[in-house]
């Protein structure tokens, strides 16, 4: 049988409450492990150290905005291929366009969803974004 790979997900978000909720909700699925970063700079550092399989990214962040991070990820050849899901409360068309043009795979507005909805949505996108085990 294929051995189950554990997927590493980097979550860059400055609200500790959101961090906790998603860690609890997503790690219920034992194949996901959440790596937390609480500001933009930490996000970039953790991404380089941990090489996550997927990045969940807030846009308004201390020290470095999510937009800047998207640019940094794109320019770093080790990180460019990692899918990024934007998870934010910025909802203007301009912001969505900007994030997508910088390479975000999906754009979710936090306030639009309840807890179950948002976690199941994230899980679905994660499934779509992360390729299944290569040795399957």
């Amino acid at each position: 049988m294929n051995k189950e790979k554990i997927y590493k997900i980097l979550f860059v978000e400055d609200e500790p409450g959101f961090q906790e909720i998603f860690k609890n909700a997503l790690e219920k699925n034992r194949r996901y492990r959440i790596v937390q970063a609480f500001d933009g700079q930490e996000g970039l550092k953790r991404a380089r150290e941990e090489k996550p399989d997927l990045i969940l990214l807030d846009l308004i962040l201390p020290k470095k905005s999510g937009f800047e991070l998207l640019k940094d990820f794109k320019e770093d050849k080790d990180l460019a291929a990692i899918p990024v899901i934007v998870l934010t409360n910025l909802e203007s068309g301009e912001d969505i366009e900007k994030a997508t043009s910088l390479g975000a795979k999906a754009y979710l507005i936090k306030a639009d969803y309840g807890l179950d909805e948002i976690t199941s949505r994230i899980e679905k996108i994660i499934k779509d974004c992360i390729p299944d085990d290569e040795n399957k």
Partner: protein
């Protein structure tokens, strides 16, 4: 079809008052109006120079006239540039506003909803500690939202033309004591001590007590937020000529030099505020300045990066 010029549109373009009202600036801060004035000055000076040159043959006088006109045009040009800057700043403040509202208002709102969902869904599976945590987050979120909303309302009020102060005689010392007591818990949480030192025999001040309380609250709140842990926030009240001078000092992160002149602007948040993850929407000092200036006092600060800041006002 016959082309009929849109007279209303042309008239609107000529209607300077309406144009300037759009920018919400006074006539003398409005680029369109200043351009018209500049035009008038140029026309007058051309005619004037012509007449002057004909009347006085001396080159000194014409040189003087030219210099004078240049100086006037330079001054108006300067006013035009700075008025444009102000208008641009205003639109910057608007986009700041959207970003701040989404972060400071929608985030707690979302968090509130999700914590509630979590409680509703998993109440019996959560440990006592997790339940307590969720409830505390809910409490903090609603408190934070309330603060943001009341700051926004306060801004709206101080900007209204009908903004009125209801002055009365009261003791600034007693008021400071009450406010400091309200902030005791928050201070204790950070291990900060609030010290109040008062000059003897201070006369009561004559001002709007509620509004001054708001100013003191904002200044003490800032000192606690931007001060470091386990330090002292010092409030001093003393006589300053006929007025009373109130000041609060922290030993915190200080204010960057390049931020200094914008610190009292609406929606301005210091660069290092984000760095140190300090919550806020950039309205407190703006409100404080409006209130103090409308009360006939003065408000300002001095600060050194990483050493701390002192904010003071007179009343």
């Amino acid at each position: 079809m016959l082309y009929t010029p849109n007279f209303r549109k042309i008239f609107n373009l000529l209607n300077l008052k309406k144009q300037c009202d759009q920018y919400r600036v006074g006539l003398w801060g409005c680029p369109q109006f200043l351009f018209v004035i500049m035009g008038v000055v140029i026309v007058i000076s051309i005619i004037g120079t012509n007449i002057a040159v004909r009347r006085y043959a001396e080159p000194e006088i014409s040189a003087l006239v030219v210099m004078g006109v240049t100086a006037i045009l330079f001054a108006i040009g300067h006013a035009v540039v700075s008025s444009f800057e102000r208008v641009a700043e205003d639109s910057l403040a608007k986009s700041e506003f959207i970003s701040i509202v989404s972060h400071e208002l929608r985030n707690p709102l979302t968090s509130l909803r999700w914590q509630f969902d979590l409680l509703k869904r998993d109440y019996f599976n959560l440990s006592e500690k997790q339940r307590q945590e969720a409830l505390e987050i809910i409490g903090n979120d609603s408190k934070r939202m309330n603060e943001v909303v009341s700051d926004m309302l306060a801004v709206h009020r101080v900007e209204e033309k009908a903004f009125k102060l209801n002055p009365e005689f009261f003791s600034l010392v007693d008021l400071t004591g009450i406010v400091a007591k309200n902030y005791e818990k928050q201070a204790q949480k950070n291990g900060v001590k609030i010290e109040i030192s008062v000059q003897e025999n201070l006369p009561p001040v004559f001002a709007d007590k509620k509004k001054i309380q708001m100013v003191i609250e904002h200044l003490i709140d800032n000192a606690l937020k931007y001060g470091r842990q386990k330090q002292t926030v010092r409030v001093e009240i003393e006589k300053d000529g006929k007025k009373t001078r109130w000041s609060v000092s922290d030993q915190g992160v200080g204010i960057l030099k390049k931020d200094a002149e914008k610190i009292f602007q609406k929606f301005f948040r210091a660069r290092n505020a984000f760095w140190h993850q300090i919550e806020g929407i950039g309205l407190g000092l703006y409100i404080a300045r409006q209130i103090i200036e409308k009360s006939g006092g003065e408000i300002n600060f001095k600060s050194r990066e990483n050493k701390g800041s002192t904010f003071w006002f007179t009343i």
